[in-house]
Structure formats: C-alpha cells, structure tokens
Symmetry: C4
Subunit: 277 residues, 4 copies
C-alpha cells in the first residue's frame, strides 16, 4: 500500500516519523494509528451533525472550529507523510495518497466557494486503514476475493448495463407517448427514463406513476421484465464468486512414470502407479 | 452480421462504398463508422432534449432542423447500404437492417401523425455497432454467453411467468373482494392485478395500498410470497450462466477399439468395451 | 393427470365422450380442447372487464349473460367429466377435478351472497391443460424440475420464514415504541409489523414511513438486514435448482473384480481394471 | 440446549420437575411443553391486540389482567427452571435462559417506566422450542446448514457492508450538495444518507425523492449501482449454501502406512508415501 517505504535510506528523523505514521508495529505507531482512526470518526460525525440545521443554529461556531481543527491536523499529517517517504510522488498518486488529499482539499475550497465542506466526508474512506492497523488480514483477503469476482464479471456487467440502458431509452420514449403530456409527471423523455429506471430497479418511489390503463399495462410489463433481469447480475456475480473462491484443485502435472495427470497440488506420489512425481 | 458482403462481385464504385460503409478496416471505413456513432449519439440526445418543454419552447425550430438533418442523413445512408450490398433483401431483413429502417420511419410518419418522433430513440440500438468498430470481441463473446444462458432458461422462465400470471389473477380478484369498492383505489380486478404486480415485483409505488387490516394481512402474505419467488428466476439464470461458462468435464477422446466417447479424464480402460484406451 | 381413464371398460357412448373430453389425440378431442381453452380465456376476460365500473354501467347485462353462459357450459362439462370417467371420486379429488369444480361454484354462491363472482378467476388455472393439449412436454418437465427444487428447499424455507416472522415481530414492537403514537401511522404493533414486512421485502409503499431520526436510523438497519436476507431464499433455491437439474452422475456400484467404485451410470466395464461390471 | 441437565444427581423432586419442564419424552413433559407453546402464542397475541387502540379502549383491563397472568406464569416457570437444574448459572446464560428472562423482565420494568410492555414480544422466540418438542430434527439440521452458511460468509458480508456504508456516506453528501436546502426533504447529510439507504436497498418509500434533473440523474446512477450490488450478498450466500450442503469430496480414509488423509475416492496409492492404500 505505502510503497514509499520500500527504500528506507532516510535520515533518522524522517525514519522515525515514517515508522510512527506509516507502520503499526511499534507502540508509537499503533497509538498514532488509533488516534488517527478516532480523529476520522469524530471529524466525520462533526460534518454530519453540522449539516443538521437545528444543531448548526445552536452550536455552529463550535462545529466550525472543530472542522478547522481536524482539517489542520490532517493537513499537517499529509505534509508529514509527503516529507517522510522516500518517493513523495509515489505516495501522492497511490490510492491512500489521493484519499488523504481529497479529505482536506474541500475545506480550503470552502473558503472560496462556500458549501463544499460536505465533500470532506470522503475522509471516511481513510478508515479503510483499520484493516491494516488491526491486522485483519482475513477480511482483506475476503475483500480481494470480492474485487476479483467483480473484475471478472466486468465485461458481462458492461454488456448487461448497455442492454439495460437501451431498454430504458425505448421504454422511456414509449411511456412518454402513452402517458406524457404537459400536465402529467411524464413530462419529457428524460423524465420518463428516470421513471423507467426507478421501476426496473424495483425502487418504486411512486412520485411518478402511470394513471391510464394502457400506461399501467405497459408498466406491468416493464416490472415483470425488470423482475426477470434483476436475476442476471446476480447470476453473473454468483458464478464469479463461486469461481474466485475455489482454489485450483488439480495440478496439470503429469506423472513422469505413467504420464497420468489429475494429481492434487499436495501430492508427492502418483496416485495411480505409486512412483514419485 | 452484414452477410450482404459475402459475394463481392460488385462494380468498383459499389465495392468502394461497401468497404466504407460496412467495414471498419480501412481508414475511410473507420472514419465513417466513428462519424456514424457520433451522429447516433447526437441525434438521440437531440430527441431527448427536444421532449423537455422548456427547451422546446426556446429552441424548438433548431431541434426540428437537427432532427430532419439526421433523419435525412440516415435515410441517405440506408439507401446507400441497400444499393451497395449484393443482396439488399438479406440486409433489409437482418437485425441491423430492421433497426436502421425503424430509426428513420417515425420521422416520416410524424408528417402524417404528429407525435411519432420519440420512437426514433430506437436508433440508439444502432450503437451496438460500437462493439464491431472497436473490435471489442471479448464483450461480444460475453454477451453471447448471456444470451445462451437466457435462451437455455427460456422454458423454465415461461413456466414461471405462467404461474406468476395465475397468482396475480387470483390475488387481484381476492384483493378486489377484500378492499375493492367504488371509492377505493382497488376499483376493478385489472386495477387490483396491477397492484399485485407492483407488489410482487417489490416495486411498491404506494399509489395503491391496502387500508383495511384484512387487506394489509393479505398484502403481507403476497409480499412474503413475492419475496420468496423473486428467488426463482435468479436461481434459474445463475445455474444457466454457470453452465454456459463451464467447459465439458469429459474428454473428447474416442476409444480406439469401439470408437465411443464420453470417458472420464482419469479412465484407463474404455468403460464400454473394456479395452485399454 | 386424468387417472380416471386407466380402466376403460365403459359403454361405447361414455367411451366416446371420454375420448373427446379427456384426450387430445383425435380431431374431435383436439377441437374440444381448443374450444375449451378459448372459453376459459373469454370467460376470464369477461370477469375482469365486468369488474371495471364504467364498463359494467354500459354493458352490465351483456356481461352477466356471458358469465352465466360460461358457468352453465362449464357445469355441463363438469357433469360430463364426472359421468364418463370410471372413477368419478378419483377425478373429483384430483388437482384438475378440484379446479374444475371451484371454477363454477362461486357463480352459484353469488345467487345467495352477491359479490362472489370475482373468485371465478380461479378458472384461469384450467389453462394449465394447455401444456397437455399442445404436447409441450418440455415445459412440463421444466416445470417439474422447478417444483422439485421448491419441494427440496421446503424445510430450509420454512425455517427461514419462521426466523423472518420472529424478526418482524420484534422489529414491529421496537418501531411501535420508537415511532408509535395515536397520531402516527405506527398506531399499533400489528400495523408496525405490516410496515416491517413492507420494508424488509423491499416493497416500500411509503404509506407508512418513520419520521423521527431514531426511527429512521432503526429503519435503515432494518433495510440493510432485509437487503442481506433477501439473499438467503435466492441462495437456497439456486442451489436446489442446480441440484435438480443435474442427473446422478455416478452409480454407487462397486466393480466385482477390483471392488472400486465411481463408475458412470452407463459404464459396462470397470474403468480401472477393465473387467465387466 | 439445556446443558444444565447433564449431571442429574438431584433430589427426586427436582429430578421430577426437571423431567417435566426440560424434557418432552414423558407424557407429563410433553403436555407441559404443549401448554407452554400455547401460552406463548396466546400471550403474544394478547400483546399485539392490546396495542390496537380501539381494542384497548374496549377491553383494556381484560388484556392487562391477561398480560400479568402470563407474566406471572412465566416468572414461576423461570424460577422453577433455575431451581431444578444442577447449574443455574449455565442455564441462565444459555440462549434459552436469556430469552426466558427477557420475556418477563419488561413486564416488571413497565411498573416503573410505563410503555415497556411491547418488548415482551421477544417471548415469541421461546417458540423455537417447538422444533425440539415435535422432534423436527430435519428442520433443525436445515437451520444449522443456513447458520453455517451465514457464519462462513460473515467476513465477506462485513467487508461488503463496510463498503456500502462508505458509499452511503459519499452519496448522501453529494445529494445534500445537489438537492439539499432548508425547504427540501434533503435537509441534512444524515437525512440524505437515509434516502441513500432507502434507494440502494430498492425499498424506495418515496417520502424523499429528488426533484431537480441533476438530482434525478444522480439518483438513477445510485439505483443502477444498488441494483448491481444487491447481487453481491446473494452471490456470497448462494456459494456458501452450496458449499455447506455438499458432502466432502475426499474420503476420510487414512493411509495405513503414513497415516495421512485427504485421498481421492479413486486413489490406489497413498499420494504422500506411495504405498498402496
């Protein structure tokens, strides 16, 4: 993750800071990481609470101060991270480097354009470090299995979404013809497409709903289709998760004596002729 | 796809046009295809925007001109395609031939019956050519796997939909008895069936919802049933996708003695005649 | 299906009627079956249309006449079926016998208790005969695979529904404590349980929705749980469909010579020692 | 389950009570268990009905009496259970011990804090004893398979929920920026997060819905994402149920020479030491 730490020929001071900030093996490093996780949780909670009007009216200045405190702390931390790694560019472009940066930038932007602060919730992504700090390797490997399955299904999912988008377009146009009109909620094709997505994904807000019998019939057909095709991504991903979770059960190794294959990865002797593999 | 190009004994002019329009291997053909894809995107976007009333009021004539420009261009293109293929009938009845035609017809129909233009969004289907132009063979093969899985599950899905339709009918009639009445939203059996579909597919608009305790109890049962049977198409399709993605488990080896196949990969003797494989 | 036809020692007249009514192999039998299917479709359509108030006001008497015509026809048909089978009791208690009866009974009940007619939509189930008439054996066998999978998952599904019911009860009580009150929509525990079912099945009408922050937080937890457990019936049924679709791949037969097992069902010789099984 | 009964060196009286209360093999024990199940059903039904205002106004005192009757009975039963087991501590901390306790506690709490009674619906969990009383071992084993599958998917589901929570946070903040405002329903980030959960789980109440085109576009993207990721828990659980339902593919045979196991069913020689199995 933090590849900047690969070449450690730094001055002792930078080395020490690097150890504290990037690693969780020493007591100081662990304490720093736990303090960091708590800061993230607290600053995110502050952002959420500040957005509630009644709370903002009562404690606005307190929350503003908290926000700037945490933004300041995270800025110092980001600067320290840049300073103590051997290759700042590599850290700055890594996943965590980018997340670390965009957790502080909206704070400064809000000085120019008010209202950008809510975007700082992105800093919650920094909590992903939790798996490293608490050595939850099992969770990381399970997460990787999921990512692998998702990546393997990318092509199928892309084709599927392309097909769904086309259906949404055609269904939206049809509903606009059937139900549309200036006084209805189906006021334009994009609006009808929004309805088609709300319906096919089975979300069904009900803010836009067909009123005429023909529109309701068409909507019923759309729902049954949506119901059917919700099965497709599920099927794709199930199959890929099943595949990603399986180890290669057999080697492709031949027995050098009887030339037969089908041996387990842990086999020492050929299971057919008994000679060593 | 474009089978008209199989027998190329055309005049050089038609040959040249054919190459540009139907193939994407020459620079001219590739340029044509990319220009075509952009035209499709732009003309579809124009159709969507024109349907928004506030935009139509401001820029109506401009959009109308754009629409006719693209319809004209696509008409010329369609005529050229018909002219340069050896077998116009075969092209005209192919999937892309039909899509190409119905992307221009509603424009001309709208001269007689106003309001048919939205149907021209069908031309978005022409974007499917994108996979051919950019040689995205992987996506095409993944799409085929999905089509195969869907085709293999057709019989099961048909039986399932038949059963669902019967349930919708019976549930609709029951709810009409329980909740129906002139002043309610369950005003007729078809309306109650619409509610049953909205509920069983878990869309749940909420425009029609039971009010009486008995109706709510019945609705709860319907929801739990719907919740259970949503699993069925998913199960069907998962299994078929798994099957479509799997290689055959058996070898394709023939017995040298009795010529029969279907042997396991680890078989020593033919399981039919007993001779060694 | 029609087991009454197993022992055919009937008088020629009853035999002839039996052939026409129960079988679809002779031209007369086939014509009868197709006429029957159309009658079912038409009478069901009449029931649906009659329930629409505007249509009933205009054509009420015509629909009433149609209804009685079909009910009469189906009554005669039911009597004939009873008369021409060897074992009327066996037919009357078979699946189709029961469906045939309950498609006519509500008509007569409605003479005493008005309003029972809508229940006659049950006669749509008689359309299941379509698979027999058109010899759609493939669909029947696919339907049986589905039934098999559902039956095999019965125990798991029962346990699952029992667990869901308990969750609904506890969640309903909690929401009643948090959001309940005489002026709210969460007016009683049963009402809150109805909300819990609407939410956990992801139907989400929106007629009852939490208003307080605590209620919304609790609802979010319920939704995420519902989202998670919707996966369980799907998983159960997927696995059973996969199992039901598979033939038994291996016999449990041992080779009488080398005593080894793992032979295919179509194996004649042992695949390990080559002797006959 | 009731491990307190392992060491039965009790006085005859306690032994007898233990037999009646904890076991279902003697007629008295069976009668007690069936009476208990009915009491649970009746007392739960009373709790539900009492919460309906119109019923409470009419029969309030009767329901209150019923409630105290059952709470008293269950208290006596709990005391007897504690008295007759050898190790009261072990019973009191077992699953059923805890459930038995929390089915009576809210009754006594309600003397101090009115309104706690609805929590007594937890006593419905005591109905789980039904599987033991009626020896429904099949259901218990199927339930265990489900629990096993759920436990095996815990790590994957945790990672998944963590990712969903992060998405909900970011989407909530974005929607608050796009649609938020004092006069809208997106009045704060927590409120927007509630909307994000309602939408991503496809519940879709519709009490909060985007109004601006940009908000609707963003919501469409969220729905399609939600639609896609609903597939993930389903996939995870399907795979685990399939795994939990499968027998081990390997034999449990030990090699007689090197004592190691893990051999295929068709192995002739030990794959580790090469000696014949």
């Amino acid at each position: 993750m933090d590849r900047g730490s690969i070449e450690p020929a730094l001055t002792p001071g930078r080395n020490r800071v690097h150890e504290v900030i990037f690693e969780a093996d020493t007591p100081a490093g662990r304490a720093f990481d736990i303090a960091l996780l708590w800061s993230i949780v607290l600053s995110t909670a502050a952002l959420l609470l500040e957005s509630v009007e009644s709370i903002r009216l009562d404690y606005g200045p307190a929350f503003e101060a908290t926000e700037w405190l945490f933004t300041g702390l995270f800025s110092v931390e980001y600067a320290l991270r840049l300073w103590c790694v051997r290759s700042p560019a590599r850290y700055a472009t890594s996943f965590f480097g980018v997340v670390d940066l965009i957790s502080i930038v909206p704070g400064y932007i809000s000085l120019v354009i008010p209202g950008a602060q809510p975007l700082m919730v992105v800093r919650a992504l920094r909590l992903l470090r939790i798996f490293r700090v608490f050595k939850l390797g099992h969770f990381v490997s399970q997460g990787n299995t999921l990512m692998l399955a998702l990546r393997a299904s990318r092509a199928k999912i892309t084709v599927f979404l392309f097909a769904v988008l086309n259906m949404v377009l055609v269904i939206g146009a049809l509903m606009y013809l059937v139900e549309g009109g200036p006084e209805t909620r189906f006021s334009s094709i994009p609006q009808s497409m929004y309805w088609a997505i709300v319906t096919m994904t089975t979300v069904g807000y009900g803010d836009i709903a067909p009123q005429s019998p023909l529109g309701q019939f068409l909507a019923s057909v759309v729902m049954v289709i949506g119901y059917g095709i919700i099965a497709i991504p599920t099927g794709i991903i199930s199959v890929e998760i099943a595949r990603a979770g399986k180890e290669p059960v057999l080697t492709t190794q031949h027995c050098p004596h009887c030339s037969r294959e089908g041996h387990d990865v842990d086999a020492v002797h050929c299971k057919f002729c008994g000679k060593r593999l």
